[in-house]
Symmetry: C2
Subunit: 165 residues, 2 copies
């Protein structure tokens, strides 16, 4: 039986580089109903099950004020994904597409992003809807949804820069 | 004169952990009109200047099919940001907010996300509008905008999971 990480017909892997460029720290962990990759939804849905986002110390203080936002952008590390495919065949039919033209978890930097609805906060745990990831997925970042956020810092000259139409 | 990386009144830094959890690879570089942090816009705008996203080898093949999407999500590494602040004072007035309730570049994993309009592709270079980052910012990932993307892979059981209302 083929494994979940096998390469499919016409998919293309590249040689993985020797050196990496930057380091991440996991700031929390996502608790979801999905414990196998086969069951995980392809994309989160706004009426999906409630998931919990646990924030680790010392980052819990960074939640201050987050309750002001009804929607959050969540970044997470797709820790079970291979990273070396440039062409993928999502239907396993020999037809391929570039990794950057897919939202597949398989990518050179396996970072998933979702926009979730914030339902509640219980100490260092956020209750949200809209995720699509495995139980235990490491959390990288949380931000207010860009559509809801107005910068608090003073404007900069670049704020007024527009391009040729 | 205070430096750009100084901590402000009432801001709070945490002890940076000894060990990191995951590694990133830079897959390209963003060319923008902004060469100093003071000039960078606080947020990208849809009518902003044209920026160029350069893709490095061996990731250029991963662009195959990206021209089908009018909007892309771009993830980049905010390489000039300090990472240890949990409370920030964007107006420098002693009033603070948690880092996760801000879209500030200062965050434990300094990853910026923008949604851009794809204007054109010239070999391994994408022309886009809507970015807000410094010239030379390292690229981490490109994905079709979630609102435009329909998964190509077959559905999974989790796709049908909904929660209590």
């Amino acid at each position: 039986m083929a494994g979940e990480d096998d390469i499919r017909a016409a998919e293309r892997a590249v040689q993985w580089p020797d050196a990496m460029d930057a380091e991440l720290i996991f700031v929390g962990r996502i608790h979801s109903p999905w414990t196998s990759r086969i069951d995980c939804p392809r994309q989160g849905r706004p009426d999906g099950p409630v998931c919990r986002i646990e924030i680790f110390e010392p980052w819990q203080q960074a939640l201050e004020g987050i309750g002001d936002y009804a929607r959050l952008e969540v970044l997470y590390w797709l820790h079970r994904s291979r990273r070396d495919l440039v062409l993928q065949s999502p239907r396993n039919d020999g037809v391929t597409r570039g990794t950057f033209a897919l939202r597949s978890p398989v990518r050179p930097n396996p970072i998933g992003t979702s926009v979730v609805t914030l339902l509640g906060i219980e100490e260092s745990m956020l209750l949200v809807r809209g995720l699509d990831c495995l139980d235990g997925t490491p959390l990288i970042d949380l931000k207010p949804d860009r559509g809801l956020f107005t910068p608090l810092a003073p404007p900069t000259p670049g704020d007024a820069d527009v391009g040729d139409p």
